[in-house]
């Protein structure tokens, strides 16, 4: 017998957030006067009314089983009146309305192995995409890269301070569902070879005009004889946009897919305007499960930043001050032909001045 289902509703939208606000938040909504960072994963917000809310932040792998969500709920039920929230970077935040509740909460979180931190001039949770866990266009895994990198850098989440916050991100392909293009240090899965055309499948799976139109470099044109398309290989820059439109043009290539590292982006307006990330390393091999080459390069960049940046300088601000030529010198990363832009915004990136630093 078919299961009796409750009456479905449509277009109801999300529940109103008001239903989910802890009482101290609801009572002081819009009345917050200031906040203080009390530790790597602890801050207090103080209201104009004198009320306070303490927030304890913990790391999360983003991918959570319902069993783990229930564990989180149990802690929130015990300590936080049954409320919990997530941050925009997938950290979990537990809030309490009395100082006496902070220590028991933190003790329980520590006892249960949660990593407390991510507040202030540190590395917060890594924004990332699905990778091989769930995506058809992934050129690398995302969760695995995050885990490998953060196992190395976790001290900067839960204890050590940096010149300023460092936002890490991973995108498993150049679609960049994560905020890779404006992050301090980010990894992105890239291809190195053009798509392969499965001519027998194109006519059933793909619309030829939209496939042709999808190519940003006009490398794809119709091939009427084959009822398919053809590619001018020398024009292809391996973005994979055609594959998004036409499943008969797979681009994944296990030997040649890899990881690029981009650096120096930010979204906040503090001091300097938001900045795009720029290419630091064009390609490193996919070497799961620990991606040692990628982890090594990230550490090198972070170490150079720690050694060279002034207090409050974000990675991009530090590099702007010292110059990109100096960045390559202090990180020891090799500058290659691929670093020189030949795409949409190329002209803006060439050095139209006679002043630069000697780095040889």
């Amino acid at each position: 017998m078919a299961e009796e289902l409750p009456e479905r509703q449509t277009d109801i939208g999300p529940p109103h957030y008001n239903k989910f606000l802890p009482p101290v938040i609801k009572d002081n909504y819009g009345k917050w006067a200031y906040h203080e960072e009390l530790g790597p994963g602890l801050m207090v917000h103080v209201s104009e009314t004198g009320a306070k809310v303490w927030t304890v932040r913990v790391a999360s792998p983003r991918l959570l089983s319902t069993a783990s969500i229930r564990d989180i709920c149990e802690i929130a039920d015990k300590h936080c009146g049954g409320y919990v929230r997530w941050t925009t970077r997938n950290n979990i935040e537990f809030m309490v309305d009395d100082e006496s509740k902070v220590e028991p909460l933190m003790n329980e979180l520590k006892d249960k192995g949660y990593m407390i931190g991510g507040i202030g001039r540190r590395i917060s949770n890594v924004v990332h995409t699905q990778g091989w866990v769930h995506c058809h266009s992934a050129a690398t895994d995302a969760s695995g890269l995050v885990k490998a990198v953060m196992d190395e850098l976790h001290e900067y989440f839960h204890s050590k301070e940096l010149p300023n916050k460092v936002r890490l991100a991973v995108a498993c392909c150049v679609n960049m569902c994560g905020a890779v293009h404006c992050s301090d240090i980010a990894m992105v899965g890239v291809h190195k070879t053009p798509p392969r055309i499965e001519h027998d499948k194109v006519k059933n799976l793909c619309e030829i005009p939209s496939t042709v139109a999808s190519c940003p470099t006009s490398a794809i044109s119709p091939d009427p004889a084959k009822k398919s398309v053809k590619i001018k290989l020398e024009k292809c820059m391996y973005c994979g946009n055609c594959y998004s439109v036409c499943p008969a043009m797979p681009i994944a290539d296990p030997k040649n897919d890899g990881v690029a590292i981009v650096v120096g982006g930010k979204v906040s307006n503090l001091r300097k305007p938001p900045m795009f990330s720029k290419l630091a390393v064009p390609w490193l091999p996919n070497n799961p499960p620990r991606w040692p080459e990628v982890v090594d390069a990230i550490k090198r960049i972070l170490d150079a930043y720690i050694a060279g940046a002034r207090k409050y300088e974000r990675v991009g601000e530090w590099i702007e001050r010292i110059g990109w030529e100096k960045f390559f010198k202090v990180t020891g990363l090799e500058f290659k032909l691929q670093h020189i832009d030949d795409f949409t915004f190329a002209r803006e990136t060439w050095r139209m001045q006679a002043t630069f630093k000697w780095t040889d």
Binding site: R8, Y29, A33, S60, L63, T88, G144, N269, R271
Partner: protein, 397 residues
């Protein structure tokens, strides 16, 4: 339940200090009501780690009745070896603004997902939705009936309005210059049809940030970025400034010297700000939250156009309205959005984001057609070339 597949490569990622996603998948494989999903996900993921390639096929159109968005179809390309993930569709559930939950609500979602899915989630997806990761086509309607009857609706996907999201805003931040949670909620409700039924050239994302710190990354990740700001003077509490100084903050070095507009002075006793020259970057406020507050006339700057590099390069949103009061019922804002969508509908090509369209057509054309007055806040600098257009009205006949 014992694990079905050997996963030596993934097992490596159970080690180490940072929380492990492999442990999460294994936990679901061992304890979930429908363990086959997570069991075979482990097997397939191990194969990807071994072969260095994804084993998910290109999408496929699946969904719930009456909606064209909210479900991402996903199929294994090795279903014979991993039948548990032959179908592994994602349901995007529209999260509450600000990401606050009661545990009761979370447990309800867990119950539904244990029954109708893999027991795996993302909290949250890149856009902000609750991601219910992995189920079969035949479970979609039942999962949706249970979710929606308990007050949860689906999020956006494809060429639709994507689930709007925001920073923590006035719920727990003293810098919020407008109510980001309410603006997110009202925008989501206003555009339910556009969210559930894709009808645009491509996706359209809204993100609401309460101040120029932009904790929701709106300037990089939203077609329409609404960033809180203020007019008038930064509110200064001089006693608190002195308290920061006496407790070790080097106000000259760490605040005044880092001001990008050089609009501040500090004589060891009093902090002076020439607000006319301030560009509201937030650095001084972030250093001294107890002493400095945004000005009292508050609203938002509306920026448009950001996107990731696919296809012609990454864009950040740029200013189209320097200042708008963001207050209920938000009619001015919604009318602007609708005028922008008309322009996009009229001129946009398939898979062309609004930012790319404006690049192609020209920002002046956009401003004229949408009916926005040019303002120096819209550009960093005027054009360098002499190749500009005039209209009929500008010409003497």
């Amino acid at each position: 339940m014992a694990l079905k597949h050997e996963t030596p490569l993934l097992d490596e990622l159970e080690k180490g200090a940072f929380p492990s996603f492999v442990k999460e998948i294994k936990r679901a494989a061992e304890t979930a009501e429908n363990p086959d999903f997570a069991q075979d996900l482990l097997g397939q993921l191990e194969l990807s780690y071994k072969e260095k390639v994804t084993h998910w096929k290109h999408g496929g159109i699946v969904g719930v009745r009456g909606y064209g968005a909210g479900v991402i179809g996903r199929y294994s390309d090795v279903p014979d070896r991993f039948p548990g993930v032959a179908h592994f569709h994602t349901i995007r559930v529209n999260m509450p603004a600000g990401f606050f939950y009661t545990t009761e609500a979370l447990k309800t979602i867990c119950d539904i997902w244990d029954k109708y899915g893999s027991g795996l989630t993302n909290m949250h997806g890149s856009t902000g939705d609750i991601i219910l990761l992995g189920t079969k086509t035949e479970n979609l309607e039942a999962a949706f009936a249970h979710l929606s009857s308990r007050g949860w609706d689906l999020g956006g996907s494809g060429s639709a309005v994507r689930t709007p999201s925001c920073c923590v805003g006035p719920a727990r931040c003293e810098w919020a210059c407008y109510d980001t949670l309410e603006a997110t909620y009202q925008t989501t409700m206003r555009f339910q049809d556009e969210l559930h039924r894709p009808m645009f050239p491509y996706k359209f994302k809204f993100k609401f940030a309460g101040c120029p710190v932009d904790c929701i990354a709106s300037i990089a990740r939203a077609d329409m970025s609404v960033i809180g700001t203020w007019k008038g003077n930064i509110q200064i509490n001089q006693d608190e400034v002195r308290n920061y100084a006496s407790s070790g903050l080097d106000i000259q070095k760490e605040v005044v010297d880092l001001c990008p507009t050089e609009c501040m002075t500090w004589d060891g006793n009093e902090l002076k700000i020439n607000d006319e020259d301030c560009n509201r970057c937030m650095h001084c406020l972030a250093r001294m939250p107890k002493a400095l507050k945004p000005g009292q006339e508050r609203g938002a700057t509306i920026l448009l156009g950001s996107k990731a590099p696919i296809v012609t390069g990454a864009l950040m949103s740029w200013v189209i309205v320097p200042f708008m009061k963001m207050e209920p019922p938000y009619e001015e804002f919604f009318e602007l959005v609708e005028r922008i969508w008309e322009f996009w509908d009229e001129h946009g090509k398939n898979r062309e984001r609004i930012g790319e369209l404006i690049e192609r057509m020209g920002f002046p054309v956009f401003l004229r057609e949408v009916g926005l007055e040019p303002h120096p806040a819209m550009v960093k600098e005027p054009r360098r070339d002499p190749f500009y257009f005039w209209t009929e009205e500008d010409i003497e006949k």
